[in-house]
């Protein structure tokens, strides 16, 4: 390890003894590069018995929370929230806490590998870089494809620049996290209603009555910690009254459980309910019913959604009388063929409430001025499907995959895995031997996030523009290499126009060049030049604007256009709606190889280590299903088997399955555990071109087998089994 790896940088951030408050102290401009040295020779800032804290960014989901990692003699010990970070203000979620088990996972890809016929052979990085160089310059630009995950943004920005320089297609960015958030659909709805292609920010904390239509914002949706904080402010009653939250969804989610009321609307009718509520609110307020709601028939909506008219009227009264009412669209409500319209209907409800840009209302988050030309996704299923089509027809000669595990995450019906066979060269940058990596020709493992540099643009959740910064907190544990460095090395080796167009010596250089635009902006960092700026960027864990401030939407009078909803359509035949939701603990499934996440109970079912099928107890009785009975769930597109969990709070026509398990790779803790519900999904699309993931119908069959689910709750104590 003489060359690049010896140039890994370890900046001293703070050497103070304890507490996250120490992050902001004890820093001086240190040397940029620290030589990787034997363990016995501690860096000079490491004291025996004293911990060193580093600020970085959590990459377990794309929200961009700031974390502070406690390290001790070169080992990362504990992840805490970064108290000054505007997204999470010092808080963390389960997934963030368990990120260390990614870093120290026993099943990492420890060195670059070449895969052939099931055989994995270690190669050296020189060869790896040659392979990447050949793939970049040996193919025509349009034959190269980059498929990236939701983070990190600096990699996306660099790859965009490379592809622009090459003249190839922009990298695609996808992932089930974004899919189950209905991110693409929501962005498009925001563009239509609020006039900006961005994610809206709903100021839950400032509202006193909030109606959430399918948005599971306390679990995985957009920025759970920011919304959790907002929820707490709302509950504490910032406006003098304890906030009131109503959740509209067919299956009671964790967010619904924390809400004050749960309305079990029929799948696909959330938008209809929003429209009916809008009309009723407008009527309750008196005056003219806006054009948007003139065509709405409350009785039809009540009939279709299964929500009694009385309930709608009562809720509308609450909404109308609130000082700061708020409506939040998201999640499965948007995962229908009418999802885009539903999102517009919900956003319009905010316009009706007059809360756009008001406290307790809807805002837009300014994006920091870094690579503004790199207009990152979210891409839709249509675009992914197009890529798969190109792959299938042999138009893609080299596929680079980073940060996404499409063989696991994409609906099986898309045929991604089969299409891979027609791609001559697949290069995966996965840190773990996931399903896609094992199908690749090469794995050039990236560092895990805690060993990595980078930044993440905060798209929603903070109260100001913010760029969350990442830096390595420990020396890379294995013979891995930053993907950015690998790409840059390959480009430098290629030379020519490409090298001239991407003029960065290494990852840190790229970061510093990228951050140049922020040096002059008013923010938490006051530095005259980039090196001091960079030091403070690492110390603070990012850059954010000095003043809190979000953009108020400039709305093109959304109430003027009549709102209509198309009839929900469902893919396939079957007596049940399939409600797939991302596991609040395992997220997009990448968390399944963290044993502590596996053993953290699901908030609602308290199940650990497995997949289950939630079914209404009455329905289960009709089908003769008891807890732990293994059922076969079949759609027209696939089938899986999983044990039954009799879930009291789900509609009788719906079954729910969490997403995250069912890996066939990814190491000992994930492999062979549970089932993957994306195998069941049909390919209906929302108006925005993304997958209508909640619009599949399925059938249930008993298998006659049972399999005990590991649950923390007591079936006797909670459900009274055996006590009758």
């Amino acid at each position: 390890m003489t060359e690049k790896l010896s140039r890994r940088d370890f900046l001293k951030l703070t050497a103070a003894g304890a507490g996250a408050t120490a992050v902001l102290t004890g820093c001086g401009p240190a040397s940029r590069y620290v030589v990787r040295s034997p363990y016995a020779e501690m860096p000079e800032y490491t004291y025996n018995g004293q911990s060193t804290f580093y600020a970085t960014t959590c990459r377990e989901c794309p929200a961009g929370c700031g974390i502070v990692v406690r390290t001790h003699q070169g080992r990362a010990l504990k992840i805490e929230g970064n108290p000054s970070h505007p997204v999470n203000l010092g808080k963390t979620c389960s997934r963030g806490q368990a990120a260390l088990q990614g870093l120290y996972n026993p099943d990492r890809v420890e060195a670059p590998q070449a895969l052939a016929a099931g055989d994995r052979q270690e190669i050296d990085w020189d060869r790896a870089i040659r392979v990447v160089r050949e793939a970049l310059i040996g193919n025509r630009p349009e034959e190269i494809a980059f498929l990236l995950g939701p983070s990190p943004d600096h990699l996306y920005d660099l790859v965009s620049e490379i592809m622009r320089s090459l003249g190839g297609p922009a990298p695609l960015c996808y992932g089930t996290q974004a899919l189950f958030e209905a991110r693409a659909t929501l962005v498009q709805a925001t563009a239509q209603v609020l006039n900006r292609t961005a994610l809206p920010f709903c100021d839950l904390g400032g509202s006193d009555v909030a109606f959430s239509f399918g948005a599971n914002f306390l679990e995985t949706w957009l920025s759970p910690l920011a919304y959790g904080r907002g929820f707490a402010r709302m509950r504490r009653g910032q406006v003098g009254r304890r906030g009131f939250l109503v959740q509209f969804e067919p299956r009671l989610s964790q967010t619904g459980a924390a809400a004050d009321e749960w309305i079990a609307v029929a799948p696909g009718t959330e938008g209809l309910v929003a429209l009916a509520l809008g009309r009723l609110v407008a009527e309750a307020r008196g005056g003219l019913v806006p054009a948007a709601y003139r065509e709405v028939d409350v009785a039809t909506a009540a009939e279709a959604s299964g929500v009694p008219e009385g309930t709608l009227t009562r809720l509308a009264g609450i909404f109308a009388n609130a000082e700061h009412p708020l409506a939040v669209p998201g999640g499965a409500a948007l995962g229908h063929v009418n999802g885009l319209e539903a999102a517009r209907a919900v956003l319009t409800l905010n316009a009706l409430a007059g809360n756009l840009g008001q406290p307790g209302g809807v805002f837009l988050t300014p994006v920091p001025n870094v690579h503004p030309d790199s207009r990152r996704g979210p891409d839709t299923l249509v675009e992914i499907n197009a890529l798969i089509g190109r792959m299938r027809s042999g138009q893609v000669k080299a596929l680079f995959v980073h940060g996404i595990n499409p063989a696991f995450e994409l609906p099986a019906a898309l045929g991604f895995t089969a299409a891979l066979e027609n791609v001559p060269q697949i290069i995966s940058f996965a840190s773990f031997p996931d399903e896609t990596a094992l199908l690749a020709d090469y794995i050039f493992p990236d560092h895990t996030p805690l060993e990595s540099w980078g930044y993440q643009k905060v798209r929603t959740g903070s109260d100001r523009a913010a760029l969350s910064g990442a830096q390595p907190v420990v020396v890379p544990f294995h013979n891995t290499r930053a993907t950015v460095d690998v790409l840059l090395a390959a480009i430098q080796a290629a030379g020519g126009d490409l090298a001239a167009g991407v003029p960065y010596s290494d990852e840190v250089d790229f970061l510093q060049q990228s951050l140049l635009t922020l040096v002059q902006e008013a923010g938490n960092i006051a530095a005259p030049e980039i090196r001091t700026f960079m030091t403070q960027f690492q110390q603070y864990g990012g850059w954010w604007a000095a003043e809190a401030g979000l953009d108020a939407p400039s709305t093109p009078a959304p109430l003027e256009r009549p709102l209509r909803l198309i009839e929900p359509e469902f893919a396939g035949e079957g007596e049940f709606h399939l409600h797939v939701y991302p596991s609040p603990i395992l997220g997009d499934g990448a968390g399944a190889n963290r044993p502590w996440l596996q053993e953290t109970p699901d908030p609602m079912t308290t199940v650990m280590w497995n997949t289950w099928v939630e079914i209404n107890p009455e329905t289960a009785d009709e089908l003769g299903l008891e807890d732990n009975d293994v059922v076969r769930v079949a759609s027209d597109f696939g089938a899986i088997e999983a044990p039954v969990y009799r879930y009291p709070a789900i509609r009788r026509d719906t079954i729910a399955i969490p997403f995250g398990q069912g890996h066939t790779a990814l190491g000992r803790y994930a492999d062979g555990r549970g089932a993957n519900p994306v195998a069941l999904l049909g390919l209906k699309l929302t108006g925005a071109g993304d997958l209508a993931f909640a619009a599949t119908r399925v059938r249930l069959e008993k298998t006659g087998r049972t399999s005990i689910l590991a649950r923390l709750e007591s079936r006797i104590g909670v459900y009274g089994e055996g006590l009758e």
Partner: protein, 476 residues
């Protein structure tokens, strides 16, 4: 007054004599009785050794190997969990302590009250005390998470200068069980000395050496007898409160805990009666086996003895039922929500059959069968009844420990208990008990011959008008 009692039951009075056969009114010369006892000790068949060998294998595998495996793996191989932190290990502990109560009860209490029918089988019962306590001790040690540190319970300042915590019922347990184990072993040994001397006088070879050492040089001088008698009197009176305290303290392990169903002031006597219930029943079982398998024992252990033990069992069963109902009624009447839930769990939970079996075996079986003298006098019946009572009492402990532990004040944590390696280890302790008893039966005179002879001296027939009755004299 004759030292060697003459046959005093003439043929004409046979019917009277039969009615009091447990007083053994057909005395034989001491020498003959000695020879009978010696013969019974010396007689072994291939069956005996076969069974002993099998038991030895079972002890090795089910007790020592299984335990070693559990020690190296941790208690995870057993069925204990949250909230059933205590399982069959403690069920067995309480069970064996209960068994061990029989010996002391039969021997000491009946001695104190001069119940003459006790004489031939006190030794057989006392052996059960010692061997039962060994199993109880083993079961406690199995239960401990770090058994290799169990000596920290002993009252001495350990490596950290720390004494045990005498606030803890477990510390009391440690003192009480050790006191009881020591006391009952001493109490077994003292009356054994004359019999060991007897055996010494009639043995050769290695047995002679063993008995000579164990007999301590006893000849039977006036002084030796006087000291022995005094000591036995002191023991008979003093070991009774110790016995009661042991099982009461075991009961306090549960009663002192603030748990629904356990927190009961009646648990002390309830447990003591329960211990006697299983203990006396076990004595009956052992006597049936000893009588049936050992030579000459039909002379010493007679149907009338079973009759007398049967009555005792019936009375104890009633006592147990009384305490059970007392506990049940008060819990039912005044218990809180959790107690009521627990009672419902006992009666109609998935393991309600154990609760039902307990009542059938402990109450219905004795009450329906033991009132009948014919049944009481038949060893076969008594063995079955004794077995059922022991099953019932084991069920009682199972209901009190793992089944009750399922229910607590945090319903979110309720979880049923499913035994694991405990079953194997329980079989191991049972086999160990039987093996020890088998070996002891060939090494230790099972019948205290001198006590039998003393009793025969004291019994005589006396005529009241036309009726002849047995009269018992006090020799002291």
């Amino acid at each position: 007054m004759a030292a060697t009692a003459k046959p005093i039951a003439p043929a004409t009075h046979e019917e009277h004599a039969e009615s009091r056969q447990h007083l053994m009114l057909d005395p034989r010369p001491r020498g003959e009785m000695n020879a009978m006892v010696m013969e019974s000790m010396h007689t072994t068949s291939w069956k005996f050794w076969g069974i002993a060998f099998l038991l030895g294998i079972v002890v090795l595998v089910c007790l020592f190997l299984a335990w070693g495996y559990m020690i190296s793996e941790g208690l995870g191989v057993a069925g204990v969990n949250r909230p059933a932190y205590w399982g069959i290990f403690l069920v067995n502990t309480v069970f064996w302590i209960g068994i061990s109560h029989a010996g002391t009860f039969v021997s000491a209490l009946l001695r104190v009250f001069k119940a003459e029918f006790r004489r031939p089988f006190t030794r057989a019962a006392e052996l059960m005390t010692t061997f039962g306590l060994i199993q109880a001790g083993l079961s406690i040690f199995m239960h401990m998470g770090r058994v290799w540190l169990s000596y920290w319970l002993a009252p001495y300042p350990n490596a950290r200068g720390l004494w045990p915590n005498f606030h803890s019922p477990l510390a009391w347990d440690f003192l009480a069980i050790n006191t009881y184990l020591l006391a009952s072993t001493m109490y077994l040994f003292l009356p054994l000395i004359p019999d060991l001397a007897m055996a010494r006088d009639r043995s050769t070879g290695w047995r002679k050496v063993v008995y000579r050492v164990l007999a301590l040089g006893f000849r039977g001088t006036e002084g030796e007898w006087a000291h022995l008698r005094t000591a036995m009197n002191i023991f008979a009176f003093a070991i009774l409160p110790v016995m009661f305290s042991v099982h009461t303290i075991v009961a306090w392990d549960f009663a002192a805990a603030s748990r629904p169903g356990w927190s009961s002031t009646i648990f002390g006597p309830y447990f003591v009666v329960g211990a006697l219930h299983s203990g006396v029943a076990a004595v009956a079982m052992v006597l049936v086996v000893v009588r049936g398998t050992m030579k000459n024992m039909k002379y010493f252990i007679r149907a009338e003895h079973f009759d007398a033990i049967g009555k005792l069992m019936l009375v104890i069963s009633m006592g147990w039922a009384y305490f059970f109902f007392n506990d049940y009624l008060v819990q039912w009447y005044g218990g809180d929500h959790w107690t009521h839930t627990l009672l419902a769990w006992h009666e109609s939970g998935p393991l309600a059959w154990i609760w039902g079996l307990m009542l059938v075996c402990n109450v219905a079986v004795p009450w329906f069968l033991l009132w009948n003298r014919k049944i009481r006098s038949r060893p076969g019946w008594m063995f079955v009844i004794g077995l059922l009572i022991n099953v019932g009492m084991w069920c009682e402990r199972y209901v009190i420990i793992p089944i009750s532990l399922t229910i607590n004040r945090m319903p979110f944590t309720w979880q049923s208990y499913r035994p694991g390696i405990e079953i194997v280890l329980g079989i191991g302790t049972l086999a160990f008990f039987i093996l020890l008893y088998m070996l002891a039966s060939r090494l230790v005179p099972l019948v205290p011959v001198w006590e039998v002879q003393e009793g025969q001296m004291a019994h005589s027939l006396r005529k009241f008008g036309r009726k002849t009755v047995v009269s018992v004299s006090e020799l002291e």
